[in-house]
Symmetry: C2
Subunit: 229 residues, 2 copies
DNA sequence: CGACTTAGTGTTAAAGTTACACTAACAAAG
DNA sequence: CTTTGTTAGTGTAACTTTAACACTAAGTCG
């Protein structure tokens, strides 16, 4: 009991909603709690913020400690400070969310977590604390975000086909898109570079490969270009 | 020195960017700090979160204590936890923003503030801490928000003219709107009720008065109606 | 009653969005 | 080597939305 303060302080935590994408669909990374409270229940990975690390660092650290996931681009979602959200004491949590390519990230349970697993979005368990609500908010935010920012090029291989790109959007937005309109729109943005290559080893006509042009994307972003899908 | 914890905890504060609207334009409520650090400098009102109050409550309380402002609709903006943002110790702050009708809110400096004043957005002093950045983020968020939500009907009298409504949008968005297009769009949303009344005491043709139809607005919102201006 | 001020109104061109169906390329099977 | 199956790739037309633009109407004031 080493730290003393004149006034009582809420505990401060970070929680990370990590969405993972693969061919099967959109998933979320959850951990099974090894400790009370909610021992044995599934939860969003997260933990206490240390006094000498930034919020972003804390989120990255906790994510790695509990699930093995590294170098994820986390974005702040919101901060929740309801009085009774943690039965132990007053805990305020800063929630983050991220979207990763599932095949790139092998998870592995560690500190404070019995297990870390990807759950399909349509087959989620009831979560500990108020994590259901946080997850729901994160999902809404992700869908809103993907509509006006060409997020998620990091989710595809370096070279990808337009079909792969479209599928990614369809999975995240949870609706079908028109092939021709999608191609028109995405090519019209001018952030894709057409390669002199086609996909290999397919049992049908091979599709052309494209590369995401990051420099061009940044240039357009600065000009306030609208990337709405 | 009454409260002891096993691990060091960051202090937790809330800060409120309150935008005020009147005929002159958009203003921000700032306080002059009465205490160190940054004593004498202007800052966004805010203060420490108590362990037994929610974040929203803390924001409302601090705003009232420091500026006299009550019953403001605050919305969470972001949470900032940079390590050295406060010279005293590690402080994490949850930032809020709000938009109020200036004539409704007489301010008055109180606790920890020497003075509380409205500053025009184009004539701001340098602020304490990282409050310049927080204010800038809040302004961007306000402009983004006003474009797709009919925010700010609370900023007008109960009965208002379309010209008043348009002026409000123009001030917040900081650009001129076409009168006919604006009227078409806003009336087309169906959230305004035309009254059998016109404005009084004007030295020219009197404009028709309208009322905001809150019930209809909520109904449409649930249906995912797009209120983009 | 003339001058002044703001209210109120429609149309058109341009841009963007949506819906929709066929041919091209290639591999695999026979 | 021909047929079959599968996905790639392409254009147009209807519709909707946006943007630009100028005059008459109503009322006050002097």
């Amino acid at each position: 009991m080493a730290y003393k303060y004149e006034f009582a302080r809420p505990a401060l935590t970070v929680d990370c909603v990590v969405f993972g994408l693969d061919d099967e669909g959109l998933k979320v990374l959850l951990i099974e709690r090894a400790l009370e409270p909610f021992r044995g229940r599934w939860a969003i990975p997260g933990g206490f913020v240390r006094v000498d690390e930034s919020l972003d660092d804390a989120a990255l650290r906790e994510l790695q400690e509990e699930t093995g996931l590294k170098k994820v681009f986390l974005e702040q979602l919101c901060t929740v400070g309801t009085l009774d959200r943690d039965p132990r004491e007053r805990v305020v949590t800063v929630a983050y969310y991220a979207l990763v390519r599932l095949s790139n990230h092998r998870v592995q349970a560690a500190t404070d977590a019995r297990e870390a697993l990807w759950f399909a979005m349509d087959d989620l368990p009831t979560l500990a604390f108020d994590h259901d609500q946080i997850l729901e908010s994160a999902y809404e935010r992700l869908q809103a975000k993907v509509r006006y920012q060409p997020i998620g090029f990091e989710l595809l291989p370096n070279k990808f086909t337009l079909r792969q790109l479209q599928s990614m959007y369809e999975i995240i937005l949870d609706r079908e898109l028109d092939k021709r309109n999608f191609r028109k729109k995405i090519l019209g943005m001018g952030v894709l570079t057409e390669l002199d290559e086609v996909e290999a080893d397919v049992a049908h006509r091979a599709a052309r490969l494209y590369r995401f042009n990051k420099a061009e994307y940044r240039r357009l972003t600065k000009q306030g270009f609208n990337f709405e899908i």
